[in-house]
Amino acid sequence: MFTFGAFLKSSDFSMLESFLSTFFAFALPGQFVMADMLIAGGNLINVFFAVLLTNLRLLPMTINMMPILENKKIKRWKYYLICHLIAVTAWINMLTVYKNINKEKRFQYFFGLGCCLWITSIICTVLGFVCSNFVNEKILIGLVFFNPMYFLVMTLSNITNKKLVITIILSIILGPLLYNFNPNWGILFAGFLSGTIGFLLFRKSNL
């Protein structure tokens, strides 16, 4: 999140906007896509759909988390608040430890864990933004470049089957290609097309 603050600074965001981004749209891949779409000149509809499709992975993650957090003493509306804290790190941590936590206390445990990660992310985004004011431009370039490299390697570490291999290869080619044809919708379409082709080609394969 620290280098993401520097990325936002280089994308012409203000400190308040960097803060608001992590506060309200807490999920780093979606924030990254949003910032890049904005500097590439994308409009609000592009941003909305790109973030929606990027973050749709949160839907099965939330579905997966709900039975773990279920507690009849907790009012339903509170689940609609706590779901804001579901992001990859909190989710993986919760899945690892929940069996050791009393069922009655899981909601509170996740609230503490999620809030801690959320607040830390907000602080790191703002810190990264502020610190980027004090570094040499050439170092700032390195901090900004850290972001796409980090996302690329995180994506590579998630490759679990042939569908994703094909998706990644296609989107590497189609991303810049379609962006050249249409800067507004090119990236969104490239991602959708690559993912759909990858999925359809190896639909029945789990490898």
């Binding site: 280089s10 012409d12 203000s14 906007e17 309200f24 999920a27 891949p29 979606g30 990254f32 949003m34 890049d36 904005l38 500097i39 590439a40 000149g41 609000l44 909305f48 790109a50 973030v51 990027t54 973050n55 749709l56 992975r57 839907l59 993650m61 997966n64 689940y79 609609y80 779901c83 579901i86 050439k138 370039i141 390195g142 900004v144 470049f145 796409p148 490299m149 996302f151 690329l152 390697v153 994506t155 590579l156 570490s157 998630n158 569908k163 994703l164 998706t167 989107s171 590497i172 189609l174 991303g175 810049p176 962006y179 050249n180 990236i187 969104l188 490239a190 959708f192 993912g195 999925f199």
Partner: protein
């Protein structure tokens, strides 16, 4: 880009992000996470992220525009090579490729 656009984009992305979680809570008892639909969603999500990364490497905006495309491409190759050689060490590969990239651009080393 005007200030208002950034705030509206943050609002749009906040709504898009929250909707994913909201429907997760709403449909938690009705949808099965092992369905083909979520497999497809995962492919599309990864497709969009990689398309954005690829676009940044080939056609960057903002501060990265000042860097050479050769340095960006070589740093990406280095990242991938180190990642697989180091048995998928995320931190090592990202740090090494970033240091390589920063050094090349800091000293304006000509690569080709």
């Amino acid at each position: 880009m005007i200030e208002e656009n950034i705030l509206l984009a943050i609002l749009a992305s906040a709504i898009a992000t929250y909707l994913c979680r909201f429907f997760g809570v709403l449909f938690s008892k009705k949808l099965k996470i092992n369905s083909w639909l979520f497999d497809w969603i995962k492919c599309i999500s990864i497709g969009i992220i990689v398309a954005v990364i690829s676009k940044i490497i080939f056609f960057p905006e903002g501060i990265l525009e000042k860097t050479s495309s050769t340095s960006r491409i070589l740093a990406t190759f280095l990242l991938i090579i180190v990642f697989y050689i180091s048995k998928k060490n995320i931190l090592l590969s990202v740090i090494l490729s970033t240091i390589f990239f920063t050094t090349i651009n800091y000293y304006k080393i000509s690569l080709l």
